[in-house]
């Protein structure tokens, strides 16, 4: 794999004071491509995890019918977009942060003259780009081959979807970061991470469109930020609303993300105050 030479984009990054973070993104990509077998193994895990949903709804609604306005085509498009997004944002940053905390390796990051959280986000962006190329694009190709007739990408509003997806990307980082930071307090947080991830999959609309839940539950889930991970971005694609509504939704999503970022800052400061690293 070839990378753009340093000279091409680093002057701009240096001018913006982002050189270290651009390098962090490059390092994250390089670290990931060091183990192509791992990329392959992780990639093939995804279709096994999500194809069941696709074939299930295809068998159920293949000969027509719908549930609350969701017909076969809408559901296949919904799941396609959801799982493609999932492949990009599901970077298990929580596990990486926990490993750094458990091994004490976090100290080598703390002594560097860069902001730890920004550094991790830069890596998240780098891996996100890599996952878009190596996971999302092949997945789109595979899904188009299997369910091409039922995926309707033309009618959607791609511009708004991308904006919402960017908010989802940052929110996914903040949520994974928050889970990772719990390792400072609990040390072993693997099982908790897994449990929370399962819950988030459910209440973010990845498994079932949220409006298929009973009305009272849907009303509660609408009050939470998790819908901005999958449900909202896919909804603006499938059912574009008035521009002001979409703008308002986007603003709310951004405010939730900002709130989570501030929460992470606070938790991180609290964690550092109580964290003790032994050894030299």
């Amino acid at each position: 794999m070839s990378f753009p030479s340093r000279g091409r984009f680093l002057p701009l990054a240096r001018w913006a004071g982002l050189e270290a973070y651009v390098q962090a993104a490059r390092v994250a990509i390089r670290q990931a491509v060091c183990y192509p077998a791992d990329i392959f193994i992780e990639f093939i895990s995804y279709p096994f995890a999500f194809l069941g949903y696709f074939f299930f709804v295809a068998a159920l609604f293949g000969s027509g019918g719908s549930v609350q306005g969701y017909g076969l085509s809408t559901l296949i498009t919904y799941f396609s977009l959801g799982w493609v997004l999932r492949m990009i944002v599901d970077q298990r940053l929580d596990g990486n942060v926990a490993a750094l905390v458990q091994s004490g390796g976090v100290v080598s990051h703390l002594v560097r003259p860069v902001d730890f959280l920004h550094y991790l986000f830069a890596g998240f962006v780098g891996r996100g780009c890599l996952r878009f190329c190596f996971y999302a694009l092949p997945a789109i190709l595979m899904l188009t081959t299997l369910f091409g007739e039922d995926i309707s990408l033309r009618s959607g509003d791609v511009g708004w979807f991308i904006l919402y997806a960017l908010v989802a990307f940052r929110m996914a980082f903040e949520l994974q970061m928050l889970l990772g930071l719990t390792a400072f307090f609990l040390t072993m947080n693997h099982q908790i991470s897994w449990t929370v991830d399962m819950t988030i999959r459910l209440i973010s609309g990845l498994i079932v469109p949220l409006n298929l839940f009973p009305e009272p539950l849907f009303r509660i889930l609408e009050l939470l930020p998790f819908q901005y991970l999958y449900f909202k971005p896919i909804q603006v694609f499938l059912h574009p609303a008035e521009i002001w509504n979409m703008l308002a939704g986007l603003t709310v999503g951004m405010l939730w993300t900002l709130g989570l970022a501030l929460c992470n800052r606070t938790v991180f400061r609290a964690a550092l105050r109580r964290h003790v690293i032994y050894g030299s």
Binding site: A37, L51, G52, F56, A58, T195, M198
Partner: protein, 270 residues
């Protein structure tokens, strides 16, 4: 090795693992909570689409719940004995050379590995599976008799044997292909596929899950035989009685392959 000695060893090691488990009780309860959430996730999906009496190839909501529960029981039983080895075999026993120690001990290596790596926390999966299976059976109108209880126990054990065979076959690959990551991710993901009736999948995928990675034999075929469901589009209609035989055969075959792979083991010099 006599049967008595085998049983004695299993009980001894179970006792040791039970003591460890009691030291870390929270792990068990956190694990149980995770499992319950995992099941809620699956039930939500199925419930959202099958609510209102919809049926998919002869499987209604209750029957699919039964399939989910049965799969958990079979998976959980196998996971107690072999899942921990499956997750860490390459790293612990091949790359770090942990197998050297076992090679000089007077016990079958596979059995030794199983005894040392029992994970009684996986009992939570079995308990949850039994509850879900009972709910599914209730919803699908099953009237329990002694014969049916025995039948479901035999089928769950045969399903567990198939799972064990798959783990052993996968971890045996480590003798030839050293990997940084184990294949636990794809394997667990494949479990999602067998939560649903195989007849919803295209024929090549059904063949794959029946013959090549036969997780269908561990969950779908036994559940279908138990519920006596006749389906259109199913690859084969298996009665219940060949399933325990298939489970046993697959386990024996996997064990043979493991011992062939063992000849290829090169010690790391520990």
């Amino acid at each position: 090795m006599s049967i008595m000695r085998t049983l004695l060893l299993v009980l001894r090691f179970m006792g040791v693992h039970m003591k460890t488990m009691l030291l870390y009780r929270t792990n068990f309860f956190v694990g149980l909570t995770s499992q319950i959430i995992y099941t809620v996730l699956s039930l939500s999906f199925v419930g959202a689409f099958l609510a209102g009496g919809r049926v998919i190839n002869g499987w209604d909501f209750g029957r699919i719940i039964f399939l989910l529960g049965f799969g958990d029981v079979a998976f959980g039983l196998s996971a107690i004995f072999l899942f921990r080895i499956f997750v860490g075999f390459e790293q612990t026993y091949i790359i770090h050379g942990g197998l050297d120690k076992l090679l000089v001990q007077p016990l079958c290596i596979l059995f030794n590995l199983m005894l040392r790596n029992m994970d009684l926390n996986q009992g939570a999966v079995v308990i949850k599976g039994i509850v879900v299976m009972l709910i599914g059976a209730q919803l699908s109108g099953t009237v329990w008799t002694t014969a049916l209880v025995l039948l479901v126990a035999v089928l769950a054990l045969s399903g567990a044997m198939v799972y064990c065979a798959v783990y052993v076959a996968f971890l045996t690959l480590g003798f030839w292909f050293r990997r940084r990551n184990s294949l636990v991710g794809p394997m667990l993901s494949m479990n999602y596929l067998v939560q649903y009736p195989l007849s919803i999948y295209p024929t090549p995928l059904q063949v794959f899950l029946t013959l090549f990675i036969p997780l269908g034999l561990a969950t779908y075929y036994p559940a279908r035989a138990f519920l006596e469901i006749q389906e259109d589009g199913a690859l084969i209609n298996l009665a219940w009685w060949p399933l325990p035989l298939l489970g046993l055969c697959s386990l024996v075959l996997a064990s043979v392959v493991f011992h062939v792979g063992l000849r290829n083991y090169a010690s790391s010099g520990t």
